[in-house]
């Protein structure tokens, strides 16, 4: 049985090469080619190919942000013309890393490698929540920014983006609040509203259904009141 795949790649020549290689191999059935992460995620809402050939740098969201949004564990082969992503690739447990342009021989090695692997364990592809690390990296302003968890006041959902508010600066990254909730699992962060996760250590005061953090008013959703009360160290 052929391995099903999609190609997420903004450069047409690169995508055409991949399609040609897939066809030539007789091992891979290409279900679709997407020029950006958003379109790919829409497809992945409906379909679950076995494998994703994923470019890293694309207009809008990048390949790692797609990985953050996945709800199942396909095989991943990163295709990029930069080698700088090797560490990220390792962290995301990608199955192989092809530097563009790559030859058919190298393509075949990568495909055989993933076909020789046992079926994936049903778990999220996202890296292990970095509970024990005191920082995270977010992609904003076309770069990866190291953000200390202690510096985050709160996060606000903006549809497909998340706004990070720190004391001195605000960052917007392509991600979901749900993904951030998983990444920041631990004692310091709590979801207080469908659109807000706050850093408990930064709360100044709470008045009624509003939390105040350094002058910012954050609403508390009805469904979150109980958990918030349980997490606060109320005397």
């Amino acid at each position: 049985m052929k391995t099903t795949c999609i190609i997420v790649e903004d450069i047409q020549i690169a995508a055409d090469f991949l399609k040609k290689f897939c066809e030539k191999s007789g091992l891979i059935d290409v279900k679709g080619h997407f020029l950006n992460v958003r379109d790919a995620l829409e497809f992945l809402d409906q379909d679950r190919p076995d494998l994703i050939f994923l470019d890293v740098e694309m207009p809008g969201a990048n390949g790692f942000q797609l990985l953050d949004s996945l709800t199942y564990s396909p095989k991943i082969i990163l295709t990029t013309s930069k080698t700088d992503y090797a560490f990220d690739a390792f962290q995301y447990h990608v199955d192989d890393y092809l530097k563009k342009p790559f030859t058919y021989k190298r393509f075949l090695e990568a495909v055989r490698k993933i076909q020789d692997q046992p079926p994936p364990i049903p778990a999220a592809i996202t890296p292990q929540p970095s509970i024990d690390m005191d920082f995270l990296f977010i992609k904003a302003d076309d770069k990866l920014i190291r953000l200390k968890k202690d510096d985050i006041l709160y996060m606000e959902s903006m549809r497909d983006y998340v706004k990070f508010i720190t004391s001195g600066k605000t960052y917007i990254t392509y991600s979901t609040l749900k993904s951030m909730e998983e990444k920041l699992a631990g004692p310091s962060f709590i979801k207080v509203h469908r659109s807000y996760i706050i850093n408990i250590n930064k709360i100044d005061d709470i008045r009624g259904n509003t939390i105040y953090v350094q002058g910012n008013a954050i609403p508390v959703g009805k469904g979150h009141k109980e958990e918030l009360a349980a997490r606060l160290n109320i005397l």
């Binding site: 020549i13 563009k100 030859t103």
Partner: protein, 129 residues
């Protein structure tokens, strides 16, 4: 360095050994790729120029990154390296500081485009013959 790919000999500025491995003697496909390169590069380069003129260094780096990949597919591996160096410089410098590098890259891009135009025509003739 000239290496025969079947009977077709790529221009000496191109990494012929790599192209031989990439196309595996399929000169019809090489013709298609060279044609696609000539179709896509001008549009991408327009974005490069626009981001340089607007001094948007981050976008300039991203746009050069795309062109770098394109150059690779037609065998300009040395130009790919030059693009990578330029891309790195974009993250640390102002548009003014990299003006000379930008001019060099623009000149090399023009030369590369000319070579690929000729190579495309040669491939076309070769495949027709």
């Amino acid at each position: 360095m000239k290496i025969h790919d079947g009977q077709f000999v790529f221009h000496e500025s191109l990494n012929a050994a790599f192209l031989k491995e990439l196309f595996e003697g399929d000169t019809i496909y090489a013709e298609t790729v060279f044609e696609d390169f000539l179709r896509d590069l001008p549009a991408y380069w327009e974005k490069v120029q626009s981001s340089y003129q607007n001094k948007n260094m981050s976008l300039l780096g991203t746009n050069i990154h795309t062109c770098k990949t394109l150059f690779g597919y037609v065998g300009f591996t040395d130009l790919q390296e030059l693009c990578q160096e330029f891309e790195n410089k974009c993250t640390l410098n102002t548009a003014e500081a990299i003006q000379t590098d930008f001019n060099t890259l623009t000149r090399k891009k023009q030369e590369a485009q000319k070579i690929i135009e000729n190579e495309y025509n040669r491939l076309k003739r070769y495949n027709e013959g």
